[in-house]
């Protein structure tokens, strides 16, 4: 079972502690009176190199077509305009794609939060017939690469008549083994006394879960929610094969098809489209970055 040992080294549960953020002056040994200037210099150069493509993308989305074709290229727009964006939403229907992306991401996230926490709780705290079988099956599939299930999944969805529908876009992703793993690990860390206390008070089993346990799962739910939303928003291959008419495109699909189709020569539009794909997720990231990074640090998945 290398499956369930894999994520172990980083610790038992996504407990609120192991955050790589706010650490106060530990490990400052020897040569480090507040850091070394040359290290700041190296890191700054690296930072510029890493985020330069983004800066250039955003600046470029305000440029006109002529300026984008200039050699050598410019950094700051000579005459900034929102033309690319207005065209994106008026002519190219990006509003629709945006809505599709949001709908799919929200449904997938909700499904994962609800279903994975339910099973995660049952596996962590309850005893029932078949528990071991379920656990083994779910953990066993954690390591199976997506490419293995891709073809039969497509056949299944096609046979169900769900190709080119919105449910076809989200149904296969409503639950994930990873979500169960995450929730189970977190709930294992909660005191089991909570259960007994609830039972003594005469609460039903389901009520104990929804009213006592679930409210305590905030940190794990946040981590799972953010990672799921991100994954769904950026998901590309599945919607590319399932969404076949324009009304069903998600943002990445639309952008990919435009960037290789007849619009591929309209650089301004493409850069504006890329910005529209990136900005929402960037905003979510900036708001929840602490939670995000904790999630990555404890699970290693994105």
């Amino acid at each position: 079972m290398s499956v369930d040992t894999a994520p172990r080294p980083t610790g038992p549960a996504p407990a609120p502690k192991a955050s790589p953020t706010g650490r106060t002056g530990s490990g400052m040994v020897g040569s480090s009176q507040g850091g070394r200037w040359w290290l700041y210099l190296v890191l700054t150069v690296a930072l510029v190199a890493v985020i330069a493509p983004f800066v250039w993308m955003v600046l470029g989305s305000f440029k006109g077509e002529g300026e984008l074709r200039q050699v050598p290229p410019t950094w700051l727009p000579e005459s900034a305009s929102l033309d690319n964006y207005t065209q994106l939403f008026s002519k190219l229907n990006f509003g629709q794609y945006f809505t599709n992306s949001i709908v799919v991401a929200v449904v997938v996230t909700a499904g994962n939060l609800i279903f994975c926490s339910m099973l995660g709780y049952a596996l962590a705290m309850l005893d029932f017939r078949g528990k071991k079988v379920i656990f083994t099956a779910v953990m066993g599939t954690l390591m199976i690469p997506g490419v293995v299930t891709f073809v039969p999944l497509f056949v299944l969805v096609a046979n169900a008549g769900l190709i080119d529908t919105i449910p076809g876009l989200f149904l296969p992703f409503l639950v994930s083994p990873f979500g169960v793993f995450l929730m189970r690990q977190f709930i294992l860390g909660l005191p089991k006394d909570l259960l007994d206390a609830g039972r003594v008070d005469g609460a039903g089993e389901l009520r104990i879960f929804f009213r006592i346990i679930l409210p305590l799962c905030g940190p794990a739910l946040a981590t799972l929610g953010i990672l799921t939303f991100l994954g769904s928003w950026n998901n590309f291959l599945w919607p590319l094969v399932v969404a076949q008419s324009e009304d069903r495109y998600t943002l990445p699909v639309a952008l990919a098809l435009y960037s290789t189709g007849q619009n591929s020569t309209n650089y301004g539009l493409l850069l504006a489209g890329a910005t529209v794909v990136i900005i929402p997720i960037l905003v979510v990231f900036l708001i929840f970055q602490k939670r995000f990074i904790e999630g990555i640090a404890t699970t290693g998945l994105k």
């Binding site: 493509p53 293995v148 089993e205």
Partner: protein, 336 residues
């Protein structure tokens, strides 16, 4: 399966149960064995109620899991030994079982071999590059600096969260041959840059660079978490003993970082062995198949409608992933 009905089931899997539960267990067992009839009945009812509740909670997940994960896994195994084609979607009974033909066909296909070579190239160069950059960034952020740590971390992590499609749009501009940002910058220092994506010997390095840029943030975050678990006292003790920065890193940090390193290596390798998105959006596998990867070629076969062959290829990828993962566990576990 009757064995697991009782309270015997200590939680399966790697994590030890919270200590709270431990004292309760012996009581439970003895009351079940020797207690009077009444309490046994009550305990039985409670257990049944618990079991029912557990199943109500488990059912929605299990149904979706069976339909969209377990069934496809099994079906793709079946498909891999048949000659399923796209047209068989409508006539499922015209499918023939052909044994291991798909596997031998894949393994003797020169393009598949080329794809395997490319994937190996990508993993063997890309993975060390990604990990070294990530580790360097993590060490610098952990020990080297005290201010602006959050900003650097945020910036380095940004490529991870962005859509590959958007990334591709921008990187095509960067890598363009005449007039691209990179070649323009190289021109300032008198170097004539190659046609990155158009030259078969430069296309793969371009994609490796791009993938490392996109992925080192994840590894960096995990390394950072691992570095913070290294106790400062050990470093202090080593410093008092006269160990320099490099020696401390080599002999204090690295051994303690081994589990983290193993974890990062395994997850990165699993991801990189499925290398797909970069060539798919940047080069479509070209030029001259120089960037076609195993996943990419499998997807192409799916696109041609060769479902059986594609399934066989996907299982071959899975086997490679399993072997590589097992090897890494062996190598890094044993020396601890």
């Amino acid at each position: 399966m009757t064995a697991q009905t009782g309270t015997t089931g200590s939680p399966t899997g790697p994590v030890t149960p919270p200590p709270v539960t431990a004292p309760g267990r012996p009581d439970d067992g003895s009351s079940r064995g020797a207690g009077d009839g009444g309490s046994r009945g009550q305990a039985g009812t409670a257990r049944r109620r618990e079991g029912r509740a557990a199943w109500i909670l488990a059912i929605p997940f299990c149904l979706l899991f069976l339909a969209f994960t377990a069934w496809p896994v099994i079906q793709s195994l079946f498909m891999s030994i048949t000659d399923t084609k796209a047209r068989d979607l409508r006539h499922p009974f015209s499918v023939n079982v052909i044994g291991l033909d798909n596997f031998t066909k894949a393994l003797s296909d020169p393009t598949f071999r080329k794809a395997a070579g490319n994937t190996a190239y990508f993993v063997l160069v890309g993975m060390p590059l990604t990990l070294v950059v990530a580790l360097a960034a993590a060490v610098a952020l952990d020990k080297g600096i005290t201010r602006f740590r959050a900003i650097f971390r945020l910036g380095f992590y940004m490529p991870v969260i962005t859509s590959i499609v958007a990334v591709a749009v921008v990187w095509r501009f960067l890598l363009q041959d005449p007039g691209g940002l990179i070649n323009t910058a190289l021109g300032w220092v008198g170097i004539t840059g190659p046609n990155w994506l158009g030259d078969p010997s430069w296309s793969m390095p371009s994609l490796i660079l791009m993938a490392s840029w996109r992925n080192f943030g994840t590894a960096m975050i995990i390394f950072l978490a691992g570095l913070q678990a290294v106790p400062a006292e050990l470093h202090e003790a080593a410093a008092i003993d006269g160990a320099g920065a490099w020696k401390r890193f080599r002999f204090v940090t690295m051994p303690l970082l081994r589990p983290t390193l193993l974890f990062v290596m395994v997850t990165t390798a699993i991801g990189y062995l499925q290398f797909f998105e970069e060539p798919f959006v940047m080069t479509k596998g070209g030029p001259l198949n120089s960037t076609i990867s195993l996943s990419m070629y499998t997807y192409q076969q799916f696109g041609f409608g060769n479902y059986g062959l594609a399934s066989a290829m996907s299982y071959l990828i899975f086997v490679v992933i399993a072997i590589v993962t097992a090897l890494q566990f062996r190598l890094l576990r044993e020396r601890t």
